[in-house]
Symmetry: C2
Subunit: 152 residues, 2 copies
């Protein structure tokens, strides 16, 4: 299967996360040459790990793959606005660009709340592009939580 864009691959990871009973968020890291270095979805439940957000998993996988703490020239695609934890990890990893889908007024830490990149304590601020495939990304989350409420 050929993905027409990196965000489509992130959406696919989000769908797979939802099918596992995880909040459907997916993320992809693309290297300086345009190749996908890591792709994964939320695994907080499966791993019993509150830090296992999609962004954290792909950052850790990409750092392991490249043998470096810093992902210079790498870009992150994620279906939902990163929370403060993920935003600070993105800064620590020196990710070049962040493309995200749905906005997250409830838990976001990029354009909401902590606004992690907007303080001098964030030693790096990536270029941020929001609203990529926003409708699809938001719909996935909406359907997931509607189904969850229906099942209760």
């Amino acid at each position: 299967m050929r993905f027409t864009s990196h965000m489509d691959l992130a959406l696919d990871e989000a769908r797979k996360a939802g099918a596992r009973g995880e909040v459907p968020v997916g993320a992809v890291i693309v290297g300086p040459d345009g190749a996908v270095v890591a792709a994964d979805g939320n695994r907080t439940r499966a791993l019993n790990d509150p830090t296992a957000h999609a962004e954290m998993l792909v950052i850790r996988a990409a750092c392991a793959a490249t043998g470096s703490e810093r992902l210079l020239g790498h870009d992150l695609y994620v279906t939902l606005e990163p929370c403060a934890m993920c935003a600070a990890a993105i800064a620590a990893a020196r990710i070049r660009r962040v493309y995200y889908g749905a906005s997250d007024p409830k838990s976001g830490g990029v354009a909401h709340g902590a606004c992690v990149f907007d303080h001098p304590q964030s030693h790096h601020a990536p270029e941020v592009y929001d609203g990529l495939a926003e409708r699809d990304a938001a719909q996935l989350l909406k359907d997931f939580f509607a189904q969850k409420r229906g099942a209760e």
Copy 2:
């Protein structure tokens, strides 16, 4: 060896991290019964993982040990003010109390910059106690960076 306090154990983890060439920060998680559930120091270099701060490692270890994403009734002792990433992970894990040593105006995310717990997007805010063994914790970091500069 018997540690007179949980912060002493965190300081010991910080010293061990420094001896490994890592920024000397240590952390300990204590369960509701007062028993140490996890203790570790920074391992970002050894693991090539920018998320491997002491706090993140002990949260993940404690969650694995307890088989839960949430550490209700658990307390965290850490030698340095947590950054935004660790603060948001602390909130996600529902840590009850955070005791930290040195203040971190440069990279802190609790009392500085992102002030992660101060926004509604942080769905939990622990009780925070700062300045515990502050002098020892700060001195460890000062010595480490002075030695590093001297070696350059």
